[in-house]
């Protein structure tokens, strides 16, 4: 159905065609920008998937790599998947409580001047390049005693901390003051109000931030090169040992002369991409579910 212009005396129609044109142009530009963003993602996913397709099978996550393999025996990167799960998992266990506590202090307890100082420090920390964190942890923990998965977790936790703290501060600030007042007016102490009223209300946002932070650090390579990269091919779940991880494995395989190694690197990259996609979807789902629950539906 085509739209019809209003006609009649006294109607203000000055520049109407021009305004319509400008509107259509701007809408088109916005559409184009969105299309480009989606297209880039599509191209990346496609080319990574296509190059890794030959190695994208169950062996990738169940079989260990074989050193100097001259045979066609099936091999995979199970050591890297195990290491990434262990290292990122422990990093999350370190960064999540610390980040939440920092945010709770900043938002619920700190006086205004301290609050702005800590917020600034968190922002600066968020901007520190991963390689700097890596070399810092290397000098602090690795030199003299060797690498371990735990030290890798520690460096990833430093990277996660500002993200978790920042998102938590933001969601805590969204908790209406009326709720805090309601609890405090009952004669409930501050800590209890924070624990039972403020944090449950913010938990959806906190989880969303955490999932995104996990997705981000799961792909970090630089700090792990320093802290957990001198590894064997065995699948190892012990964080006291240096553990292989997906990003480091991709980096190493990409330097191999064997094209099958390249394919495996692409396949591992594809799995990482899919993991991040699912993590983001989970974060979204958590956020909407939480919003629905809080609205009383």
């Amino acid at each position: 159905m085509s739209t019809q212009d209003l006609t009649g005396p006294g109607l203000r129609l000055d520049h109407l065609p021009r305004r319509k044109r400008v509107n259509r142009t701007m809408e088109g530009l916005a559409w184009l920008a969105a299309a480009i963003a989606i297209a880039i993602l599509g191209v990346v996913v496609y080319s990574v998937g296509q190059r890794g397709w030959s190695e994208l099978n169950l062996n990738l996550i169940t079989k260990q790599p074989i050193n100097f393999s001259l045979t066609n025996a099936p091999q995979g990167l199970s050591n890297a998947f195990a290491g990434t799960i262990v290292i990122v998992g422990i990093a999350m266990l370190m960064a999540l409580p610390a980040g939440i506590l920092v945010a709770v202090y900043v938002n619920e307890f700190a006086p205004a001047p301290i609050r702005s100082v800590i917020t600034l420090v968190i922002d600066v920390l968020a901007g520190v390049p991963a390689i700097v964190i890596g070399i810092f942890v290397f000098v602090l923990l690795v030199v003299g005693s060797g690498q371990s998965g735990l030290k890798g977790s520690f460096s990833l936790a430093i990277l996660m901390l500002p993200f978790v703290a920042r998102t938590t501060i933001e969601v805590l600030a969204l908790v209406p003051n009326a709720l805090r007042e309601a609890s405090l007016a009952l004669g409930v102490p501050r800590w209890r109000t924070t624990l039972s009223i403020v944090l449950p209300r913010a938990i959806g946002g906190i989880l969303t931030g955490t999932v995104l932070a996990v997705a981000r650090v799961a792909g970090e390579t630089a700090p792990l090169l320093f802290t957990s990269s001198v590894v064997g091919v065995q699948t190892d779940w012990n964080p006291a040992h240096a553990l292989q991880t997906i990003p480091v494995a991709i980096f190493e395989l990409s330097e191999s002369p064997d094209p099958k190694d390249h394919a495996r690197a692409w396949a591992a990259g594809f799995v990482l991409l899919i993991f991040i996609l699912f993590a983001s979807l989970t974060a979204r789902w958590l956020a909407t579910r939480n919003a629905r629950k809080l609205a009383g539906r």
Binding site: P111, A112, P176, N177, A178, L179, R180, E181, A182, S183, L184, A185, L186, G187, V188, P189, R190, R192, S196, I197, P200, R201, K293, L294, A295, G296, R297
Partner: protein
């Protein structure tokens, strides 16, 4: 030609007469209270007594510091970083503004209902029960919840859906839920900061009725900008107004405090008369 302005507010005459002041038991004695935000005084030099088992209304135009004043009674203003106050508020003879008094203990005895209904994002039952549980009143929790909801005139409407979210209730029901939550922990005093300003007349009436019924057990202090409401529910009424100090400073001040009947029919201050007859404010 002189025009006589009829009072716009009629005071119900069937209310119980208040005993003479010397026979009333003061629960709060406010003396020389100044409340200050940063460098700006919100209220200055307020002195009055609040009596036990009466409903005391605080009326006055917007910006006269009514809400600031009522929040002094349970140290709610402590939450505002730039706030400070001078003067004393004695509660049963003890100065609750002193720095060695724990505001948590004050609030435990002096409950509050806020202007906007603010139920917790929990079930109806938990909204009432949570405070009791946290404060250690765990015995007969079901009976306690039922009693509080009944007192708040909400029980019949929610008894079949106690598990539903408190946020699923209508505005008036939410406010009554907040009242139930406040009285479930058995405070001594209930402060109400414009509790009906977001409610329709029927919900307002329900809240006013329950104040009438509950004042034998509690002491109510209610802030309202609705004079009819003050005239309906309050035994005592305090009128606050905005005063001009030097250098254009504006602050709230207690103009007159007396029995509601007297405030609305024979105020002794011209400013009170202007306000209650609708000539100002």
């Amino acid at each position: 030609m002189s025009i006589t302005i009829e009072p716009t507010v009629r005071v119900e005459t069937r209310r119980q007469p208040i005993p003479p002041r010397e026979r009333l038991e003061p629960i709060f004695e406010v003396e020389g209270l100044d409340a200050i935000y940063g460098a700006k005084a919100a209220i200055k030099d307020v002195s009055m007594e609040v009596y036990k088992n009466l409903v005391t209304a605080i009326i006055g135009p917007s910006g006269c510091g009514k809400s600031t004043y009522i929040r002094c009674f349970n140290r709610m203003n402590d939450l505002i970083p730039t706030f400070r106050q001078t003067g004393t508020i004695r509660y049963h003879g003890q100065d609750i503004c002193a720095s060695n008094i724990d505001p948590v203990a004050v609030r435990r005895n002096i409950g509050m209902v806020f202007q906007r209904p603010n139920p917790f994002p929990k079930s109806i039952y938990d909204n009432v029960a949570w405070g009791c549980r946290v404060l250690g009143m765990k015995e007969d929790l079901d009976a306690r919840v039922e009693r509080a909801l009944t007192q708040a005139a909400l029980w019949d409407e929610v008894k079949d859906r106690l598990k539903a979210s408190g946020l699923s209730l209508s505005g008036g029901q939410q406010q009554r839920l907040c009242i139930a939550r406040a009285i479930a922990v058995e405070p001594d005093v209930v402060l109400m900061d414009e509790p009906a300003s977001a409610l329709d007349p029927i919900a307002t009436q329900a809240i006013e009725q329950l104040m009438h019924q509950l004042k034998s057990q509690y002491t109510f202090v209610i802030v309202t900008h609705n004079m009819q409401q003050a005239a309906r529910v309050a035994d005592m009424t305090a009128f606050f107004s905005i005063s001009q100090g030097g250098e254009g400073e504006r602050y709230g001040e207690l103009i007159e405090y007396d029995a509601t009947e007297k405030i609305f029919t024979a105020p002794s201050d011209k400013r009170t008369e202007d306000y209650v007859t609708g000539r100002f404010g």
